[in-house]
Point group: C2
Chain length 74, copies 2
């Protein structure tokens, strides 16, 4: 599949709302690479559930406040 995921996110805003955290710093805290954070921010693909949990934890919010799923189709 080459279609972008129907899931958007507010990671970029959350990073800057939290001390202008860089992609690298976020990547280090959630245990993925800088490129992975960049790709997720740009909705190239949506992360694993575990990565999503870690990101939400870093920012102290619920997963739903980081990722927005637009129930398309159906």
């Amino acid at each position: 599949m080459v279609a972008p995921p129907p899931i958007t996110n507010t990671i970029r805003r959350l990073r800057f709302d939290h001390g202008e955290m860089t992609q690298q710093q976020l990547a280090d805290r959630i245990g993925v690479t800088r490129q992975t954070v960049a790709a997720i921010e740009q909705n190239k693909y949506s992360p694993s559930l575990e990565a999503a949990f870690r990101i939400a934890e870093v920012f102290g919010v619920e997963i739903g406040q980081v990722f927005q799923w637009t129930k398309s189709g159906s």
Copy 2:
């Protein structure tokens, strides 16, 4: 898959709390196969973020009420 994921879930309970929904019925509603639901229920692996969103929607709860992430050692 080499190690079980540090994410557990309450799908089995939720299915039975919602009219004894079968794995097949849940699978149909979230767009995956029966084997995938079975594997997730048994924590063989954790699902994609999109699958997690769909499951939570079926049961009308937040992702955090379906999946529990135990922030273990990292």
